[in-house]
Amino acid sequence: MPICSGTSKSFLPTNTNYDLSEGTYLLTMSMTDTGTQAPAYVKHAKWLGLSNMWVGFGAFALAIPMGLYQVAERSNLFPAAESRELYYTSVTTHGVLMAYVLTTFFIMGFGYFSALHSLKQDVWSPLFSWTGFVIALVGTVMAAVPLLLGEASVMYTFYPPEMAVTPFYIGAALLFVGSWFWCVDMVIGMMQWRRANPGMAVPLVMFGTTMNALLWLWTSMGATLEVLIQILPLKFGWVDTIDPGLARTFFSWTLHAIVYFWLLPAYIAMYSIMPRESGGKLFSDELARVAFVMLFIFSVPIGFHHLYMDPQQAAGWKLLHMFGTFMVAVPTFITGFTILATLEVSGRLRGGKGLFGWIAKLRWNNPMTLATILSMMMLTAGGFGGVINASYSMNALIHNTQWITGHFHLIFGGTSVIMYFAVAYWAWPRITGRKLASRRMALWQLWLWFWGMIVTTMPWHVLGLLGQPRRVDTLPYSDELNAIWNPYEVVMFAGAVMLTLSAIMFIVVLVRSHFSERLQQPPEVVFGTAIHQPLRVPKLLNSLALWNWAMLVYMLASYGYPLLQFVFLGTPQTIPFGFGE
């Protein structure tokens, strides 16, 4: 067995000869899918994976032109493009499609694919899984129609008392409900596997995916409560007024942790797919689990940094949430360390020498490895901005400015979505049994996405510091401000064009990969192993129950009173405005 048991005196265990050819990895390596009749889980992994991911990427393709349009419209560079109705429709639809539809469906598809393959175990009920998919899809269509008609231009954060038409909210709720079917599937899958393999460590990819499912169940509850308790009663005419302060507090519960729901699959791919794709081994399996647990615990009860500038919550609670917000830095830095160390291991195994020599030896021509490197760079830049956003007093300098748009495009559009691309490039040949249409184009696409993100978001950060607000369709404030803003507007437009080209290339590669040459022997679905691959891990890193309780306690502490206060605050209620009112 080429699994290292070496004492880790040195950075790299040198007493073991690694055999990096196929078929020498412990645990996940025993199985080959080809040859005999493929088991049922392979079929379900294929179709659940493919259907979900294509809905996600379809939404992405639809949302991209709206991003380009917004940049063109708000820049005042193209008078012919001016239309505030279209602009706010685009802002909302781009946000909903990217943040809810692309993410949720991609995460479900990737989750099914990696869960079923890593556990080698079928979903407990295919009917249940497909029901979830259909509900989410129906919800998406139901919300998309009013969005595209401009009858739901309330931003993806749908802040009342601005109102959209009723189907928008019902559709969004159904998308959430459908995604909960997936969450249940992941939790049940992990429980079944643990029962069948008592004492064994759940595969890392499954542990991370299930943590994310649990995270999403907790996260989605805030917006769900807002819709159920406040918005739908209003839309159905049961009540006439609403408390926007309560609505914002509910939404803050969802608004931050949802970002980690989007980001976790990127980390999961880095931890479980990249090590093998880069030709090495994961530096640490156990610390990856610690990071997943910490990301779960510290991402939900900290939403108040989105409310720092709000009047309806007191300073003490904001301070409390600030402490938790900075704790998220710990699992993020751990992830950064483990991933970079893993890359270094790969580079050195491939003959890299010296302090930096391993960098040149990395598999830059492997999409998963390249995407990980680019993603990590964008995480570094975006994370730095995040520290400013999270700051109790500095937040006032950038709240609701274009800086914020720059920040979340780096973290979501950059760090997360570039890994979604890489996962697709990795998964497609394994799903379709066909060659990836063009690896060369895939690599160019990733580079172009990276540079596009940098060229778009750096001007946004600067514009934010120079006082430009986000989400405005024109900039009529003052000639002096426009004079200093305009050069950055031109740069951001160039970046948006790069991103659009990159997105088109991505869709082209994926579509062509359905018609490319059939592979004699499709690559196996195997996940990377760690240098010290554990067969067993401490119980706390192998189960969910305790962390679920911990989350309940932390949530009660951080959201209990801030929500309860609305019962006795006696806020005069507000009349809704907008569509259908």
Partner: protein, 170 residues
């Protein structure tokens, strides 16, 4: 069952812990000096800003908005935000002198932000937003709405003139 952790990882975690504690420390230091985000949790009836009988009284009625000095001599700017403007539409403030801004929304969510300063508030109907700050640089600034409030959102702004303190007359 052993939990394997590398020596390098341990060192890194100590460093990260140090970074977090340092970040917390900076936050606490400034909070202790009074740098708090606006958080007064004060309710008002946004639909009846003009009536003394409404919750919160008529502090934001048409005759009461504007700039005054309170009993401690502090400049107080009382404003209303409504689709699509800030009232009063133009204010003048002295350079370098702290002022308190109290502002309420008349209808939907708004925000108020003066570019290149730290005056940044969310305006939530049903609540009064309040912050005390200082502008140190002379000039004309827009004060603009920074949270989507409807189709006229981008045109929702007023003006602030910052004049030298010795030329300032209330």
């Amino acid at each position: 069952m052993a939990f394997h952790i590398d020596k390098l990882e341990k060192r890194w975690i100590y460093m990260v812990a140090g970074i977090v504690v340092m970040a917390w420390g900076i936050q606490i230091y400034y909070a202790a000096q009074g740098w708090h985000p606006p958080s007064n949790v004060e309710v008002i009836d946004s639909a009846q800003l003009h009536l003394a009988s409404g919750v919160g009284g008529d502090e934001f009625s048409e005759q009461n908005i504007g700039i005054k000095r309170d009993e401690n001599g502090m400049l107080v700017v009382t404003m209303v935000a409504a689709r699509y403007g800030f009232y009063p539409q133009e204010i003048t403030l002295p350079q370098g002198e702290p002022f308190k801004m109290r502002i309420a929304s008349f209808d939907v969510l708004h925000g108020i932000y003066i570019p290149l300063t730290n005056l940044n508030l969310m305006l939530v109907p049903g609540y009064v937003s309040e912050v005390t700050t200082t502008v140190n640089t002379l000039g004309d600034y827009p004060m603009l709405c920074h949270d989507f409030c409807g189709m006229g959102h981008a045109y929702m702004f007023g003006n602030v003139k910052i004049v030298p303190a010795d030329e300032y007359k209330l």
